[in-house]
Amino acid sequence: MIHFVLLISRQGKVRLTKWYSPYSQKERTKVIRELSGVILTRGPKLCNFVEWKGYKVVYKRYASLYFCMCIDQEDNELEVLEIIHHYVEILDRYFGSVCELDLIFNFHKAYYILDELLIAGELQEPSKKTVARLISAQ
């Protein structure tokens, strides 16, 4: 399952966090600090997976934002990459060529979209259209 989702800007600013496993506030900051240290320093042409404390973190950079998802060792990395891409596409569709600022000022909407996409750390809605429709309906 997905343990958490992070959106980190290139400067290390956190843009969105969603925790599906219990982490205390302290652990959260620590996780983010550690991971942004690892991920932001990785070069552009490297693979998108990082092994981290027995978990795997799949990340992908879109413009200035890193989308990171932490998954179990045996989860499928490519699938998660697709979920990330999926999420980005939905955001894009919703905001109309999404940019970091959209997410900054509409952080709650980014959350709602994510909630439609994932529940309890699992993908729940594979259809982009449906998510978009649902979000606009709310």
Binding site: M1, V14, R15, L16, T17, Y20, P22, S24, Q25, R28, T29, G43, K45, L46, C47, N48, F49, V50, E51, D72, E74, D75, N76, E77, L78, E79, L81, E82, I104, F105, F107, H108, Y111, Y112, D115, I119, A120, G121, E122, L123, Q124, E125, P126, S127, T130, L134, A137, Q138
Partner: protein, 984 residues
Amino acid sequence: MAGGTSSIMETLFQRTLDDMIKGLRLQLIGESAFVSKALDEIRREVKSTDPSTKSTALHKLSYLASLHFHDMSWAAFHVVEVMSSSRFSYKRIGYHAASLSFNDDTPVLLLITNQLRKDLGSTNEFEVSLALECLSRIATADLARDLTPEIFTLLSTTKLFVRKKAIGVVLRLFAKYPDAVRVCFKRLVENLDSSDPQILSAVVSVFCELASRDPGSYLPLAPEFYRILVDSKNNWVLIKVLKIFAKLAPLEPRLAKRVVEPICDHLRRTGAKSLMFECVRTVVSSFSEYESAAKLAVVKIRELLVDDDPNLKYLGLQALSIVAPKHLWAVLENKEFVIKSLSDGDPNIKTESLRLVMAMVSETNVVEIARVLVNYSLKSDPEFCNEILGSILSTCSRNVYEIIIDFDWYVSLIGEMSRIPHCQKGDEIENQLIDIGMRVQDVRPKLVRVARDLLIDPALLGNPFLHKILSAAAWVSGEYVEFSRNPFELMQAIFQPRTSLLPLSVMAVYIHSAFKVLIFCLHCYILQRESITSSCPENLVLGVSESVLKREMPEDSGLIRTTCEALPVQGDKGFNRRASNQSSEVFSVENGGDRTINHGQTSTPNFSEKSSFTYESIVKLINLVELAMGPCMGSHDVEVLERARNLLCFIEVIKGEITECLEHKEKKKESEEMKASEIIKLMSDAFSEELGPVSLSAQKRVPIPEGLELKESLDDLGTICADIQVPPSNDSNLFSLGSPYNGEEVGVSASELESKEESEPSNEATALLTDHRKRHGLYYLPSEKNEIVPNDYPPANDPKLRDNLNNDTEDLVKLTEQSLVTNKKPNHAKPRPVVVKLDERDVVTITAKRPEPNDNLLSGAVREVLLGSDTRTTTSQHNPPDKASSKRKGKEKLNVDPSSKLKEDLGDSEKPDHENPSSRRSKHRTHGKERRQKSPSKPAEERENNGQKGKQKSSHRARHKAQERADAPLNAVSQTPVIPDFLL
């Protein structure tokens, strides 16, 4: 205080989230001040009675909490208030805040049960979805228990949007409240039949997650998963199903046979890399015994490897490393690519390929591979360099240097690795140098040479990571000084000025090694001189008297050779010392023609002419030591101080006599001379005692002396002699004098230690004993313990190295496999030197079973449901009759708190619902066959609508089954009581 006007004012002039974010972004430096000001505002606003103000405040707070990590637990109550707001937009803010900030310890959770229940039953599906999302995040055991009925209802709602979320929530529900399984599981299973892709995706995800925790319980559902695997076109779903099968297949061989073909089909057909990779991974991890599937998978892996995408490359390597243990050929096929990846830009890929390279290592190619790797390590960055070195070391030392044939090569490789500038593997190398020294007798001359090269190089002293290596080198040089070509040079190396850079603990080892070297030199010198001055019988006597040291070691009997320390002296020059065997020593000092008895050893270092011991050289040596020891006398470190003092005192004792008797060479002051040489001899004998590795279980083999009560509690003893040191502690002192590894290595309890002490005879020379002690303190080597153990105690060897611990299980397996095989490998051009190993029967099997307590309840419940009423699921193929029973079961539970919807369905209330589940289960088990036959008819009455279908299906099934059951292997059934016939 907040009157009507102020509230309006607040509303009007409240900063919105946008305002706050804008403000925050303007703050370049004083962000924290701004935030605390905003927090103050929020604190005030959130208390407002106006819902808009309140929710906006909460919204802002959630922003700060989620992105700036400010604590918002104080606002929990306000969150609940906003959650209960009737307007959706406010409610949403409230729920969002709740799922963000609530945890199991949040006190107000008790207050939201009813709110959640209300929202879960709401007609607005978005409200329901909000509540579900929140529940999936915050559900506690209490909440889960209280809301299970609601979730149960939602699991079969017609609103797909809600149902899929309810399915997701089940995961949390089960985790928190395993009893929910009894209620919800059936409906969850029903959803597997859903034709809606969303529902299917959700439910398969849930099962994937559940199965990953406890695969065994879900075997009965295999037919459903199989159907999905064959029918589904949705990659998301397929990936999850594959994962499930990867978990289930190892448990049930017949299942594997059945699913391997469809998986291969997907593998061939699919264009999606993620699905393809999942197929590959499933095949290599769970179906690798199917040759054709494995081959196909390897072909696909190759495709991944040659792809430009680093992700695929990485995953390809990863898949290879999964396949490596079973199909090494797959790795060898891609060898070139793997080696090439060692220089990839991506550290992950490099690490992965390193792992693979290490998997390829065998005794035939270890030299070649190590060469390649060392070259790579020279080129790569420090981190990866050390990773390479670490894996070389651990691979080569695996299973007591199993793959090493040429130890001379390996020892020089270690020497070479130590000199790699980035090398930080000091500890590891230290362990191995010493370990090899103790285990492999034939390599000692080479080892000493390598150690000397390390010691002598002043450049190495500057690198703190190498200090450990130097300490090992010093120890080796001291311990096996008899192989040294030039002890004087060694002494100079040990006392070279830059040794002041060493840490004190290493310095202590240095000093003790110097002590050994000095003793050796003096000993040789005296013997040499004696043999010139006299062919006196007393020397012989003296020599023979040492033979009391001889010990029989039954275990190593194959290795035992009578060792001679023969000192054939030719003239006054070149002398020849032949020394030491694995485990026993006989010192016999002989003269003249009667020289070496033993020719077991081939390596007999000769001291060249120049290094023979003359009076001048000995005096120089002594002076050198004295000079070097001077500063150490002021050391703050006890170890260093004490050893230096020992050394100096020793010099003090012998110095006079040495010089004196030399002066009176002609006069032959026998008595005095004897005194000095006796001391030296004694010391020398003490030092030439062989050290060997110790078995993990050595302690256990000590026979318990009669009259020793091991079981008796020693607690009382503690009170009796509270201030006295009780024997056990004394004892452990003796063994672990400064040896931190002691406990870890042997894992002895106090009583065992005591037994050891008890069995320790006092016949050993006290001098010897003290010396051993000293040595223990000096070098923290657990293996030295066996020096202390008494004669009746068989010497044992350490089956595995300390550094090898992570390979434990692997090693254990191998060791047991080898238990009957001799250690020597016959067909090598160069015979492999004997590596001291311990007999394998001593290996203590460490069960690496990890308990999984938190899943017990859950899997118990799942099993109960599946085994209980699913005997029919399995036999009748999850068709309607089974559903009926599931419904019934759910209702049974729900009779306690009935929901209106359920009551409608409750047609069968008079059915024997009150049987308790366990009796039902047992019944199903015992009468499985009859049940199956009956099942189509009886439950079909309960559910007419689909009973018809079920009848057909199951009767077909039964027939099908009946014919197949005949030739089904019976043994598999015992393993999994409820095996779907379908799989047969």
